[in-house]
Symmetry: D2
Subunit: 348 residues, 4 copies
């Protein structure tokens, strides 16, 4: 829902990989205690699995304890159907690790969070619109055909300003009514880095937990409030304007370092500049000046609080990303079925 | 939701005025026992208030007992903003009669029924998108400003094929959660007459009651299932293809009579033909041959069951009608407030 | 542009196969003089190639002399990506026969006819939106990479009511400016048969020739007016309401015969009715009563002239059909290029 | 078309008022030679009329010689229909000064520039979609009814990437074909200030003149290339990400000064900060360091060149702004007609 949380670094990020990058980048290795990290590289994706196992780790990361899988996929913006299918497969593989906890025929509710009237926030509703919805077919299907068909239901609850109802209230009411074994929330996220917009997918088993102090009344959407596991699937589609300025200042100060270490070879190479860096950075105090960052943020907020930074071609990108994420969900949710057969069945 | 019910006349109509017209037209006056009728004419609307007071009346009308107000407004298709505001005012006046039963500050849930992916069925979601949603503002509003502000929430639950969840289930779950004093459902209807498409608004206090034998599993959405009054607001946007053929046959047989008596002077005059009617109608059995009608319907159904008849310019008309209906609802729901102030407040 | 032409049979059709069916159906074999017909069956399509070689044939068919290829593909409505790709390939194969007359690097202008504000009429603009547009890249491409890249430009001129300019005027102006070697017009058509809606693609080398007497002022869009070959690609998306009624009357009269012979085994079987046909058809004069048909049409026109019949799910179907047609055009237009390479190049 | 031009101040702006503000702000009064300025305040708008009368003035302003009227209207974002109508009236008043040069019945072509697939760039096509198009009705209208009806035609040519044809080519071809007496281009602009997004309308008689050195091949769209007067109407809807960072740096350095003098009392007051500015700005070199600005821009461009800054609610704002601009154009173009009559006529 594009809200983001302001961390102690004065930075709004919904991504665990960014949180970690910031910390390691600023405070340096060794690794963070209570935070296990594993990375895998596929043909198209660079996958980072972060497991926050202790309260200490959670405190340092400013993230809830739990598992986070992040796919960084520069090819997501490429508009190549072949690449997109590979990303969907990688996503399905990661999702399976989260869905494996419930039975193959256990019912799932997929929630498309976000505002369908705001293009970069419409990811959730668009993903949900591309899903294979089967809950209503399940009962009508003879068991011998059913073989592994999972009952999947969906809802796009809208946002508070559109409905007058907290998103969490709507979801909780539905969960009570239809009793799914798992809820999967799909949402657009805010990132702090241009390079991650529409190129990164995060899966987390922590649900959605509004940052304290952000001033919004959003109810948490997690196992505690819903009574069943809640998986959050998110893709950053915007940067808050105030964030990009903070980062840009760092970038200007030290182009070689500012955005943290590149995570995949495919990422666009940073441009070389033949300029005298002294000309630019003279006098800017060294990195890590926490107070200064917060002040910058507070100055910019009144001017830019309502502004988002997004790719020019976001309308087209959102549609592509929605198809990729829906493809991964469809494959992961209906894993034991031959996909062709499912499709045929649905159309029959 | 564009389903319609096949009456004993082999005709699909969701409109009480059409049901009555058919009966009176075919069986003639005097009036139907247990059915009270009152008509009013305003500058732009012809209003018919039908009250079905007995089970006998309900059986004859094939409609639930209850109150039905119908506005027939040829000007609704005219794309004239001035006329549209007058229609909204007439609608607000009729709606008030239905809403008057609850207190001015009693919370209301407005439900936009229908499929947002099918233009003529998207009326409900579009109306809801134009409403003044206030439930979330109510608590934040100081009582002295609040003065009559009604908490209004909305939901567009989608259709079974999109969500896998019965619409009635979603609404019931939400009603349990947020406990409104009244539910208002807005829906696109099927009519049996070209002249009523996008020119008629029906309000009924009977809720939405799927016809028996139509083969769909829709739960009723009414006071019995939800535990609070349920008002249904509907506008016909399509005719089923099989219906239009039945009617067309009658029209060909007897142009002067087929569509029932015109209800408002503004309706387009029927064209005069200088032809020998014998050439067309020779041998077609007289009106009222019930078996024949049903057979015609059953022959056409397999070919045309999935086809709808709708105005060419339906995409534009739906937007106009949605604004008109939303205007009427906004005025009726927030009656005790100065409208300007409400608008100012919302934007503040 | 969903206008259609009223033939002497009182029927609006834009399809040569329908014109022929009507004639053969009513007047019986042998074949029509001056009209050559060839049929081919592929895995998914039934292809009919009609060549009207004489003025006599043109007069009987009420179509311009020229080549017409028609793909009848029941699977087009199935929403199966695999089937859709096969249809695109069949379409590309047929299109190649029409495009073969110009050189592989000869520039082509593709025109998306129709009204983007009316869902069933938006096919042309939607197809054009899915095309690989290359004209602007051609000059920037080194010849060794270019290898067979064809410069393709597109325009969606809108309709007269939206622009105040005849579509033909806009196209002619552009043709003078950019001098393509061929113009391909993509358009939504009116059919006379429910079974053909969104299941049929027609290609013709006759361009677009408004019927005489239809009362619209549309300029012809053909080789004569534009000075280069004009290919028309069309898909029926609506039936005019008055047409469906005429046909339905015939269907009621003789269900076994009314819609003409089925053309492909995959077409949905006609339902068997266990009824006494006499009950329905008694007294309706025998088929072929030309005057009666015209009279029916003239009676219905004032009531239904503005009404269209279209599948309930037209919003979704239009998107599918647009992708299929665009896929066929992309493959046919850039034939000598390795498709993968084109895609890579475009995204680079 | 959201391209913008990089001025010597390293700033992308399409607005004459911003160019002037920058200059006066940095170099101080007295006024710029060859640049006449007049300001007017209405109930809702602050209007600035800039007339660049000499080549010197043009060089300093980095704008073509000509007349520029700018309406600054904070209320444009308020979603209040009453205010919106007043803005339309102010706009019509300004437009009339530009249109007065041609006869009341002289034909006008309105061009909706921009990309309908990119929300903030879709302003032009959306405005054009709300215009009263009359060119095709003109001939059919009896002279006594016509009384002042102006023939208005429209086109939305799309962008180069969508059509493969330079926008300027399409317009020039059409101008040759239909010979309008004036062309009015409506376009989304890039601004350098958050406060101007969707609150400012600029009218200029200079047409559209792509900046030199920007690297795009756009043809100029002006009197010289088209042979008739060309009026440009633009509304800023985005800021380039690299621009906002430059400005933000200045803002951080000196909050009291950075965005130039406020132009209307209604503009939101700048927030007061209780902080020690020294903490933030220590060491940043003084304003006006031209080389540094350019360097900042060149560093950020590779990261942010494709990023835009836009209000969160841009999807809704664009629709509002399109209606306001179309309202102003409709009133200005058909000035001698009674508006009600025009509307009635169009619907008849």
């Amino acid at each position: 829902m594009l809200t983001g949380a302001v961390s102690k670094y004065g930075v709004q990020t919904d991504l665990a990989v960014e949180a970690r990058e910031l910390i390691v980048h600023r405070e340096g290795p060794p690794e963070i205690p209570g935070v296990e990290v594993e990375t895998v590289k596929t043909e198209v994706s660079f996958i980072t699995r972060i497991n926050i196992t202790t309260e200490d780790g959670a405190r340092i990361m400013e993230k809830m304890p739990g598992r986070y899988s992040t796919l960084e996929v520069p090819g997501m913006r490429e508009r190549n159907r072949d690449v997109q299918e590979k990303i969907s497969q990688d996503l399905a593989g990661e999702l399976e690790k989260f869905i494996a906890d419930i039975a193959p025929e256990a019912p799932v509710l997929v929630v498309g969070l976000g505002n369908w009237n705001a293009t970069p926030d419409a990811l959730g509703p668009k993903v949900v619109g591309n899903l294979m919805v089967t809950r209503h077919l399940y009962e009508m299907t003879p068991p011998e055909v059913r073989g592994g068909l999972r009952p999947v239901a969906t809802i796009s609850p809208g946002v508070l300003g559109l409905t007058g109802i907290e998103t969490g209230e709507i979801i909780r009411a539905l969960v009570v009514q239809i009793e799914p074994s798992m809820v999967i929330c799909v949402d657009a996220l805010a990132s702090r880095s241009v390079k991650r917009l529409c190129t990164t997918i995060q899966i987390a088993d922590t649900g959605i937990n509004p940052g304290s102090g952000v001033g919004n009344r959003r109810l948490a959407i997690n196992q505690e409030t819903l009574g069943c596991p809640v998986i959050a699937v998110g893709v950053p589609t915007v940067i808050h304007a105030a964030t990009i300025v903070s980062d840009a200042m760092e970038l200007v100060q030290d182009p070689s370092k500012a955005q943290g270490p590149a995570t995949a070879d495919e990422l666009p190479q940073k441009t070389q500049f033949n300029i005298d860096p002294q000309l630019i950075t003279k006098g800017i105090p060294p990195d890590g000046d926490q107070d200064r960052r917060e002040l910058i943020h507070s100055i910019l907020e009144p001017y830019m609080g309502n502004m988002i930074v997004t790719p020019k071609e976001i309308d087209v990108l959102i549609d592509d990303v929605a198809e990729i994420v829906a493809g991964g969900l469809n494959a992961a949710l209906h894993r034991s079925l031959d996909l062709e057969r499912v499709f045929d069945y649905l159309q029959g």
